[in-house]
């Protein structure tokens, strides 16, 4: 018995050594092995995330398989909840989170301005498009692409064709309860649509502006304050068409067989929706850096596409199953959001939209 225990110990040590040597021979970036060795004694890192819990768990598992001995403890803290928790803890010197992901860039920017986030240039820095990184501290490994989702059992192919243009939702075919829209203040995706429709650029004003929003309200859409409920209602067939939603959320339902499809009318708002950084006060900084390096690198991108949504890394093709579908389209004309305007107009644009809907 003692012998077999010793054998097992020896085998484990040998395997660990072999694994470490294998990693050393195939370092994905300079210093990876040293960082991994430094992270091992830290054992665990805590990640505050805002993507769906199942996806975060799967990403954590993939990381743990690649770096045995370093585990990821995830805490689901969507948007402002994560921000408040992280801020309150940090201000009271309770350094629980090592890596924090928040969907709203303005909140992340405030944490950075307060000095709560670490300067850390990730190895894949140059592969990350500039719209998806902030200085050398914040990175978003996924893109949020705005889509118009529809129930394929309720919308005819001809009607689906209409939805390839934003103006298509104004077609009388979608009036009186077939269309659903979001009116919620906790939703960056929902705001991103308003951000584009109310863009002060004259061309955009001519095409969209408040008139466009009023015409949407004239369709008498069903209004939802929870994007997840709205998605569920399209899946169930309660409403036929819904916007605003993002590609990853739609994909999560399509992947389990829901009869939904979606279009990406041009221009399509695309922005970073999972801003991630290392806490400046992380008590396990090596593990935290190892994790963010992985998440923003090619392996993280592959894992993200396997378990969640579209990765943003240059040179990484969309390997998701949905991308092989004949009806699926990639973004053709990207609309980049302006985060400065986002911060200034978040409330006022939402108020305009809520007022229009109230008057419908």
């Amino acid at each position: 018995m003692r012998l077999s225990a010793l054998n097992a110990l020896a085998m484990t040590a040998l395997l660990g050594l072999a694994g470490g040597q294998a990693l050393a021979q195939t370092e994905r970036y300079p210093g990876e092995q040293a960082l991994y060795e430094a992270a091992k004694p830290e054992k665990t890192i805590t990640w505050y995330f805002s993507i769906p819990a199942a996806a975060a768990r799967a990403l954590g598992s993939e990381f743990e398989q690649q770096y045995p001995g370093v585990t990821v403890e995830g805490i689901f803290a969507p948007s402002s909840l994560g921000y408040q928790r992280f801020l309150t803890e940090t201000e009271n010197k309770q350094y629980v989170a090592d890596v924090v992901s928040i969907s709203d860039f303005p909140l992340m920017n405030q944490l950075h301005a307060a000095g709560h986030l670490m300067q850390h240039k990730v190895p894949a820095f140059d592969q990350i498009p500039s719209a998806f990184r902030a200085g050398e501290w914040g990175y978003t490994p996924t893109a949020t692409e705005l889509v118009v989702i529809y129930n394929a059992n309720k919308v005819t192919p001809e009607e689906a064709k209409l939805l390839e243009q934003w103006e298509g939702v104004l077609d009388p075919a979608f009036a009186n309860g077939r269309l659903g829209v979001a009116a919620m203040r906790n939703c960056g995706t929902c705001y991103a649509g308003l951000h584009m429709f109310l863009d002060p650029d004259p061309e955009m004003q001519k095409r969209f502006g408040t008139d466009f929003l009023k015409k949407i309200a004239d369709q008498k859409p069903k209004v939802y304050t929870d994007v997840i409920v709205a998605l569920d209602r399209v899946v169930a067939g309660e409403i036929d068409v819904y916007f605003f939603l993002h590609d990853a959320a739609a994909n999560s339902k399509w992947a389990v067989g829901a009869p939904i499809r979606w279009t990406k009318p041009a221009p399509t708002p695309v922005f970073g929706g999972g801003w991630t950084a290392v806490s400046a006060n992380s008590t396990r900084p090596n593990g935290a850096k190892l994790f963010i390096n992985w998440l923003t690198g090619p392996d993280g991108a592959a894992a993200i596409q396997k378990h969640y949504g579209r990765a943003i890394l240059d040179g990484v093709a969309d390997s998701r199953k949905v991308a092989q579908e004949p009806w699926y389209v990639q973004v053709k004309d990207r609309y980049d959001v302006d985060f400065e305007r986002w911060e200034k107009t978040f409330i006022s644009y939402n108020d305009i939209w809520f007022d229009i809907l109230q008057q419908q």
């Binding site: 303005p106 309860g177 304050t225 999560s252």
Partner: protein
């Protein structure tokens, strides 16, 4: 000569300890909430300077006052409906010869096992206009009704009222059935012998005697309803109906964060509740007027329903069908589906969600932790709450009297604002992140109910029996253990149930204090539903319901509470 019911000198230290504990765990978070209301708001949260701007902007804003009026109106309607139906069902099951009491008793409590959000999701699946199971079923069975026919539409004001009514009705039943069972029927019998009708006896004898329990119940239901944000918050905005609790949650959690406004609005609700509490104490201040359990012994003979038996059975059956059977069928069916659908086919069903619950170590740990935590919170709330109420009503203890007011205050602060206060408090301590903090937070949130609910039972019980025991040489503790506790057993069991079951469902504090090292089923259910996985959330809710049902059944066996025998 009257004995003092508590040996005060020897328990001064104990009262000081209880007082200190209640002050710390219940009051400090409120102080943090008040502090938040008075701080300058910045885009990043709260500043360090103080101001009255938040209070002013809330008090003088049409948006907030309109939202407050809506919340109050909604709460009044829901409280009225829940009280009427809850009291009728409690009366039928506790005081009459209705067949199958034990089964009805469990069934009527069953909706309590669901969190309001999960109950709402079940009713969205059942009552949505186009795809709701009820409307789809009716259109399929009665094609002549047409494709657009809809009997129910949950996305309306009455939809909000309906789901809230179903949520609160079991609470009324739970709070009222204990005092009803303990009531001496001789007064009612005397009224009947003098020629009073059933209705007249109930309105002129039963209800006045029940006043302490009814007032406490109405206050509790009103407070819970006026603070409810999930159901009105999810349905109301679809037709422009924003209530104050939803506005508070939006201010506290959504970008741009306006925690100062949220806290200030929370203080408005605190003031409303304080008025309610003052009224409750005033209406029940002369304790001896409500004594129905005295030294003369009492009988609780069941009222014979006679011809009313069938209407009573139909009423209970209809309630159970609508409040229990339909939502639980909906949830159970959902829990076996891959995604929501109004058309059912074989390929849509799966057992993957249940496999996930029991295969994943964290969800299994969540189940076990939830059981331990709810039992501990239930036991602590019962002990502290009953001690305070007993000291206040029977002991005439000043500390207890103060604690009976202070300990109830957390009920008056909206759950999320109070939970932020709890977090602000514990984050400054070394306890932060431990299971112990979660337990203290749950006790703080549930203690008000544990103080208020036994009050009615204590007011109904005369001091005679305990004093007789003391006169014949029993120590205070012996008299308390052998006389008072057995007399109040149904009320105490109700307090334990309420505290334990609500601890298992508690969300607002748990989400903020959650640690992966102490996973909880309620938070995992929240994570699943917030991630869009309603089917996994439904499966977790089914598991949670089974656990709660087991707790109720086991506790009843342990405490030997058998309604069908009409005995304590």
């Amino acid at each position: 000569m009257r004995h003092r019911l508590l040996p005060f000198r020897s328990t001064n230290l104990a009262w000081a300890l209880v007082g200190g504990l209640v002050a710390i765990i219940a009051l400090v978070p409120i102080l943090f909430a008040v502090d938040s209301a008075l701080r300058v708001q910045t885009p990043a949260g709260l500043g360090s300077e103080y101001t009255l701007a938040n209070v002013e902007s809330v008090l003088f804003s049409a948006q907030y006052t309109r939202a407050l009026m809506r919340a109050v109106t909604l709460a009044l309607v829901v409280t009225f409906l829940s009280t009427v139906v809850g009291v009728i069902t409690a009366y039928l099951i506790s005081r009459t010869d209705l067949p199958g009491k034990a089964v009805w008793d469990i069934l009527i409590l069953t909706p309590m096992f669901l969190s309001p959000f999960v109950g709402l999701v079940a009713w969205i699946t059942l009552g949505s206009r186009e795809t709701g199971m009820i409307n789809v079923f009716l259109r399929a069975v009665f094609p002549f009704l047409g494709d657009r026919f809809a009997l129910v539409d949950i996305w309306t004001w009455w939809g909000i009222v309906w789901v809230m009514f179903l949520t609160f009705c079991p609470f009324v039943y739970l709070f009222v059935q204990g005092p009803l069972r303990r009531m001496d029927s001789s007064l009612e019998e005397a009224a009947r012998m003098c020629g009073a009708s059933h209705l007249s006896t109930i309105t002129r004898i039963t209800i006045p005697l029940m006043r302490p329990a009814l007032v406490a119940t109405i206050l509790l239901i009103f407070v819970m309803a006026v603070e409810m944000y999930t159901i009105p918050g999810m349905i109301g905005p679809s037709f422009g109906y924003i209530t104050l609790p939803w506005k508070i949650v939006a201010d506290a959690t959504l970008y741009p964060i306006q925690r100062g406004n949220a806290a200030a609005a929370g203080i408005i609700l605190l003031l409303i509740t304080l008025v309610g509490m003052w009224l409750q104490r005033r209406l029940t201040r002369k304790a001896e007027r409500f004594v129905t359990v005295g030294g003369k012994g009492f009988r609780s003979a069941p009222v014979k329903l006679g011809r009313l038996k069938w209407p009573a059975l139909i009423l209970c059956g209809a309630y159970v069908a609508l409040a229990v059977v339909l939502p639980f069928v909906s949830l159970t069916v959902s829990s076996f589906m891959r995604f929501s659908s109004s058309t059912l086919s074989a390929d849509i069903f799966t057992a993957i969600h249940y496999r996930e619950i029991f295969a994943r170590s964290d969800t299994f740990a969540g189940v076990m932790n939830s059981i331990y935590l709810s039992l501990a919170a239930g036991a602590l709330c019962l002990s502290i709450g009953f001690l305070i109420s007993y000291g206040d009503i029977k002991g005439g203890n000043r500390t207890a009297r103060v604690l009976a007011v202070l300990g109830v205050l957390p009920i008056a602060v909206p759950g999320f604002v109070y939970s932020l206060g709890i977090m602000e408090m514990y984050v400054r301590t070394v306890l932060y992140g431990t299971a112990f903090v979660m337990l203290l937070a749950h006790v703080a949130k549930l203690l008000p109910y544990a103080i208020l609910v036994p009050r009615a039972g204590l007011l109904q019980t005369s001091n005679d029996l305990e004093e007789s025991a003391r006169t014949t040489g029993a120590s205070w503790f012996r008299a308390f253990r052998l006389v008072t506790i057995p007399l109040l057993k149904p009320v105490l069991v109700a307090v334990f149930f309420f505290s334990a079951l609500n601890s298992m469902k508690e969300l607002s504090a748990s989400v903020l204090l959650y640690s992966p090292r102490f996973p909880l089923l309620s938070v995992q259910t929240f994570h699943a539903t917030q991630s869009g996985d309603y089917q996994l959330g439904a499966a977790m809710s089914v598991v949670q319901t089974v656990i709660m049902l087991a707790i109720v059944v086991i506790t009843r066996i342990v405490f030997r509470v058998r309604l069908e025998k009409g005995a304590i």
